[in-house]
Amino acid sequence: MKELTGESWRVGCHAETPVTGRVVIVQSEADLHKVCKGDVIVANQTDVNYTPQMLLASAVVTVEGGRYSHAATFSRENKIPCIIGTSGIMDELRDGDIVIVNTRSKTITIQKT
């Protein structure tokens, strides 16, 4: 178990309880086909082309973005747990990692790699 957090991390959309899911790193639209129901999308940022997969995801984590980014806004509109501004996260996570995303504590815990 390894817990990740950072000064710059912000919550795009809160969830009542932590969510667990399989990490899918999305570097560009070309990676979107890897996303299955319940996965945690980890991306630099999202745009309108990520919409179908965001609706499947249990949580969304982005490296960039602020209060009004696409990821934060669409997550709020659809109650998808979301953490934004997670610089360095791409170096810590790999495809297939099982993580717990906790928006209350602004942490991501790697449960299993």
Partner: protein, 317 residues
């Protein structure tokens, strides 16, 4: 201001429809299908690399009003679409990216991107700069009355658009795909079916505004979204009600100022989260710009530096 942004959205749409009347959507989609594999999927990432990896020379304006900014954004995007149409003209004649390897065309595209960038995220007089200045003013005002968590919650409302005319592009797209499914069933588009749909609003809007005029993109999104539902459609209304009740607690002068700032923030967010998606660099017009960068990059073996690409093409190397 709300009326101004609604008119701006209508003008953007009208300009695209005029272009479709000149070329027809069937022809436009046909040309899009001839682009190399991955070109559309990687367009935004490649474009962002170009935007971030080059210097752009635009003037800085101080104290821009939101009204003036919206006028400038409109003018910039009218000419951005004209350059996109010029590129499309080349593509439709040759059906090959090679026809885009031209110093003069690249120069037009660099100029056009410079102007777009001037009203964009990274410009000191662009959309984000203006939005941030309004958020800072509002945050400062609200901090006099509420604790940090409530201020944060109230500021977030500026990014939520649940009424009929103000929705994020994502939400609008999902609603339109549901409407499409309701009107036509889960019918994948082919050139033949599209020809039968000429003049039908929903498929044309989806293609134009959310699928970069690509039938493949349309069909992919249709199959992925056919079982998806919006999860919380009433969230925005609830948030706006909460906002109104909090604002009732503060004195009238500051309440009025806060209401004005909220309106400006919502309008700028609507521009950023909806109209930019459809009509700026992430949309079809943007795709027509990035294909020129891609073609010139391939031909010159220069990955990012657009000025070096231009110089090399000009020299005829």
């Amino acid at each position: 201001m709300r009326q101004q942004i609604e008119i701006l959205g209508q003008e953007c749409q009208k300009r695209h429809i005029a272009l479709e009347e000149r070329y027809s959507m069937v022809n436009i989609t046909r040309i899009m299908e001839t682009l190399p594999v991955g070109c559309i999927e990687n367009a935004i990432k490649h474009y962002q690399g170009i935007i971030r990896g080059n210097l752009w020379y635009f003037p800085t304006l101080e104290d821009v009003s939101v009204t003036n900014f919206l006028e400038r954004w409109n003018a910039v995007h009218a000419s951005y679409l004209k350059v996109a149409e010029k590129v499309f003209g080349h593509l439709s004649e040759s059906r090959s990216l090679d026809s885009l390897v031209d110093a003069n065309l690249l120069e037009d595209v660099i100029r056009s991107e410079t102007m777009r960038g001037w009203v964009g995220k990274r410009s000191p007089s662009g959309l984000d700069a203006l939005l941030n200045s309004r958020v800072e003013q509002l945050e400062e005002l609200l901090q006099n009355y509420f604790d940090a968590d409530i201020v944060d919650e109230l500021l977030s409302v500026g990014g939520v658009y649940e009424d009929a005319c103000f929705a994020s592009a994502e939400t609008e797209m999902i609603r339109l795909f549901h409407q499409y499914k309701h009107e036509f069933g889960v019918v994948q588009l082919t050139p033949e079916i599209l020809a039968q749909f000429a003049g039908k609003d929903v498929p044309m809007t989806l293609l134009r505004e959310f699928c970069r005029c690509s039938l493949s993109e349309f069909n992919k999104k249709l199959s992925l979204l056919q079982s998806s539902n919006l999860r919380a459609v009433s969230e925005g209304t609830h948030a706006l009600e909460r906002l109104a009740s909090f604002l009732e607690e503060i004195p009238e002068d500051d309440r009025n100022r806060a209401a004005t700032l909220f309106e400006e923030i919502r309008v700028l967010n609507y521009l950023n989260l909806n109209l930019e998606v459809k009509y700026s660099f992430k949309g079809w017009a943007g795709l027509m710009h990035v294909v020129v960068f891609t073609a010139c990059s391939n031909a010159t073996n220069i990955p990012i530096n657009v000025y070096a690409m231009h110089a090399k093409l000009k020299k005829g190397d």
